[in-house]
């Protein structure tokens, strides 16, 4: 079975999570005796084709137009479907980013089938692909099979390892016959938030703060620790609902689901909604003054103590050890 991977370009760079999806597609296609193609869509994206060959794409389809500079959901979906038909793909993979989750639904809508969203596992069983994905915010996992072809999967960032087998891809330009209606939902403008801020769902280290920090003015403790670790910052639902922190920082059900290498929870008790959103983190550190807090059941390492005493000491020690 051949697989097509949509590769997302942001700020002139290939998204790391797209390379993860490409690598997983190559592993899966290998088991199914197929090859992998990549689809690049946008303006000035052709230059990335070579790197995709290095990461295992045998073929790269490029759809370029100034009108595709920003995400245009219907047009992007049409370009992916065009590449899918060219490649004869039995499956379409993409990273479960904001764009990828949206596009997976759009491609499914065009092809009359559902995508499996936010997959954390791709299995091959009797020549078909099964997708394993969290449901109920990770309180359970569903394994789904596709009744219609192609299988469409968006893959959760930070889960699948990247491989760089080397190689060169054949490049073909595609020019789908776009209609005016393909741009009816197009993005007009993109506003970047604070530069250099690490995005939660893509971060490999996250430091989150909860009610134990006692007030919005004390989140500087969290931020200093995060800076020492080069981490993204998160928050519990309680502090978001109190208006201490914006919703964009909320981790857990009704917030973001994350799986970094290291998750540090400061003054977070570990409500079921929070645990659902971060329990797949590889290593979890918890600092909480209540030894019975549920967070300690999920934590790899815990310190029982006052965040106001422990966190500055931890920041100082990390700076010393990491030479920061």
């Amino acid at each position: 079975m051949n697989i097509l991977v949509f590769v997302e370009i942001r700020d002139g760079r290939i998204k790391r999570s797209s390379l993860e999806a490409l690598s997983e597609a190559r592993r899966t296609a290998g088991k199914l005796g197929g090859r992998v193609a990549a689809a690049l869509v946008g303006e000035g994206v052709r230059a990335h084709a070579e790197a995709l060959g290095q990461h295992g794409a045998a073929q790269v389809y490029v759809t370029e137009s100034p009108r595709l500079k920003y995400y245009a959901p219907e047009a992007y979906a049409r370009a992916v479907v065009e590449a899918h038909k060219k490649w004869g793909a039995g499956a379409i993979f993409m990273a479960a980013t904001s764009m990828g989750r949206d596009l997976a639904g759009g491609v499914g809508a065009l092809l009359g089938t559902s995508a499996a969203a936010d997959c954390t596992g791709v299995l091959v069983d009797g020549g078909r692909i099964l997708a394993r994905r969290p449901v109920y915010a990770g309180k359970a996992y569903a394994t789904v099979a596709f009744r219609k072809a192609p299988a469409i999967l968006s893959l959760r960032p930070n889960v699948f390892p990247i491989e760089e087998p080397g190689g060169a891809a054949a490049v073909e330009e595609l020019a789908p016959a776009f209609e005016e209606s393909d741009f009816r939902s197009a993005v007009r403008e993109l506003t970047a938030s604070v530069q250099g801020k690490v995005e939660l769902t893509e971060a490999s280290v996250i430091v989150s703060g909860g009610r134990g920090l006692k007030g919005p003015e004390h989140f500087v403790l969290r931020d200093e620790l995060a800076a020492a670790l080069g981490a993204a910052v998160g928050a519990s639902r309680a502090v978001v609902d109190n208006g201490w922190r914006p919703h964009s920082e909320q981790v857990g059900q009704t917030g973001k689901t994350v799986s970094p290498n290291l998750y540090v929870a400061l003054g977070i008790s570990g409500a079921i909604q929070h645990l659902a959103g971060m329990r797949t983190s590889k290593v979890i550190v918890a600092v909480n003054k209540d030894p019975d807090a549920p967070i300690f059941k999920a934590a790899t390492y815990g310190i029982v103590g006052d965040v106001f005493e422990v966190v500055p000491a931890l920041t100082a020690q990390l700076k010393k050890v990491l030479g920061g």
Binding site: G112, A140, R188, T254, V304
Partner: protein, 252 residues
Amino acid sequence: MNLAVCFKRVPDTTAKIRIASGGKAIDPQGVEFAISPYDAIALEVALRLKEKSGAGEVVGVSMDPEGNDVAIRKALAIGVDRAVLVKGGATFDSHATAQVLAAVLKPRSFDVIFFGKQAIDDDAFQVPTMVAQLLGLPRVNVCTSVEIEGGRAKCRRQIEGGEESVELALPCVISVQKGVNGIHDNRFPTMKGIMAAKSKPVETVAAPAFEPTLELVSLELPPERPPGRIVGQGAAAVPELVRLLKEEAKVL
């Protein structure tokens, strides 16, 4: 302004999930159900838009395999004018669900069809997009702000490290993020609202035919995390924690 809001009855965020025997569904015993939180926010967005425009109505549409009307009653109690309960349909199959909803929505005329960005049971993020496609409407998902003006919807949509601005001609489909237009939850129902809800019209329709696209092979609980340990008490435990992170877990 005529607005539709599609919402789903799902296990509450505080629910502990257990798997029923057979391994293909959750055990509903002891589980509290509620309107999916993002859908509840969509309801509030629509109610405020209607109040601001001073005309039109908000119609709630909910598909429920069991035909349970608890979510519909709650929506009516907070101010939705009337509701359509779609009995039947698929579970955990976005395109099948979209087919059912699109068929129900098609003969009715709305300026905007609202959804929450995802239902918090199957977390699939696709039904709004697919309903839009099936109805031939523009759409925008995960909106953090929605403004309706002069026959157009001006929206901002959250992405990694930024926001996208999108402007759609009405009619259109919009799914919302928590915090959209400053809204984090729906309003509380008043006693008057609860009483009024009893006399509001609810149309019950059987789910139209749909084509299944996904098969649920199994549903399982996540693997237990390996047991962790308490490194120590207070700041004195910090050097040991950092050593473990560096030498044992190798994450520094």
